[in-house]
């Protein structure tokens, strides 16, 4: 499967600068959740609001018989629905996954309700696997899924997951290649063509004599 770097960048260049803390740092992946996620939430809100508005409006009209009051109720429901839709959009907008050449960071900021920033420095861990998971037919249809990055650090017992992002396969493949390239120069397990010195050392010290020498 072919992939391009643009498949892995949802957020504009202007916004991705915020994730860079060093001059030589480069953004590998920067994504939000799929656009359909807030759309579905908005559709549910609109559906619920319309049911509540119709039932409340009917009650007001039948029992109080007041058109002005019904009008006020409709306006109030309009404000409430608009604010709920705005909240969904803002929550989606401030939820960003970014992977740079130095770190992995998840920013989730909900105005008035809290903030969550989870970052992980790549020089402190070894990436062991990058998986793409498309859980259902619906996700497959929309080219949406999860990408998980696994680490071997004992204290970090969880995987870093990018949930419901667009183009998960392309992102996982690009990320896998980029992380492998990134870890090659710095990590001993990527050095190729060297003799297996660890085995020789263990053989050397076994019973105080050189075994199989």
């Amino acid at each position: 499967m072919e992939y391009q770097r643009s498949d892995c960048i949802d957020v504009t260049e202007e916004e991705t600068k915020t994730c860079i803390t060093l001059p030589e740092e480069k953004i590998l992946v920067c994504k939000r959740e799929h656009k359909l996620i807030p759309l579905i939430a908005c559709a549910i809100i609109l559906f619920m609001a319309s049911i509540f508005t119709v039932s409340g409006g009917l009650l007001i009209f039948l029992f109080l018989e007041s058109i002005p009051l019904l009008f006020s109720f409709l306006l109030l429901m309009g404000i409430l629905t608009l604010l709920a839709v705005t909240k969904i959009i803002i929550d989606w907008y401030f939820h960003i996954y970014a992977i740079t050449t130095r770190k992995i960071i998840e920013i989730r900021s909900v105005p008035f309700f809290g903030e969550y920033i989870d970052d992980l420095f790549l020089d402190q861990v070894r990436t062991t696997e990058v998986d793409a998971k498309i859980p259902s037919f619906f996700h497959e249809l929309l080219n949406m899924g999860n990408v998980t990055v696994g680490f071997d650090r004992p204290s970090h017992d969880k995987v870093f997951a990018l949930f419901n992002i667009s183009k998960p396969r392309q992102t996982a493949m690009y990320l896998s290649d980029a992380l492998e390239e990134l870890m090659k120069p710095s990590q001993v397990w990527f050095q190729e063509g060297k003799p297996n010195e660890h085995v020789r050392i263990s053989e050397d010290i076994f019973n105080g004599r050189v075994a199989n020498a």
Partner: protein
């Protein structure tokens, strides 16, 4: 009929208080969102900024309309 009008008047008053609180909420929400934008450095798109501003204006407009409805209802309440 007068009793219904009085009840409608008080319910409208309740709606007015609620919508006024929503105006305050939407104003503070916009302020908080802009603060987060400044803290995190995540640029807000024009559409999102426009949405936040429209929220405040619409909430204010609806509140004013509800206030006008209350004035209208109060004229129906017998003195």
């Amino acid at each position: 009929m007068p009793n219904t009008n009085i009840l409608s008047f008080y319910i409208s008053l309740f709606f007015l208080v609620l919508s006024f609180m929503l105006v305050i909420y939407s104003t503070l929400y916009r302020k908080e969102t802009i603060e987060i934008r400044n803290q995190l450095g995540i640029a807000l798109s024009r559409e999102v900024e426009a949405l936040l501003t429209i929220n405040i204006f619409l909430a204010l407009l609806f509140t004013l309309i509800i206030a006008a409805v209350i004035i209208f209802l109060s004229s129906l309440v017998p003195r």
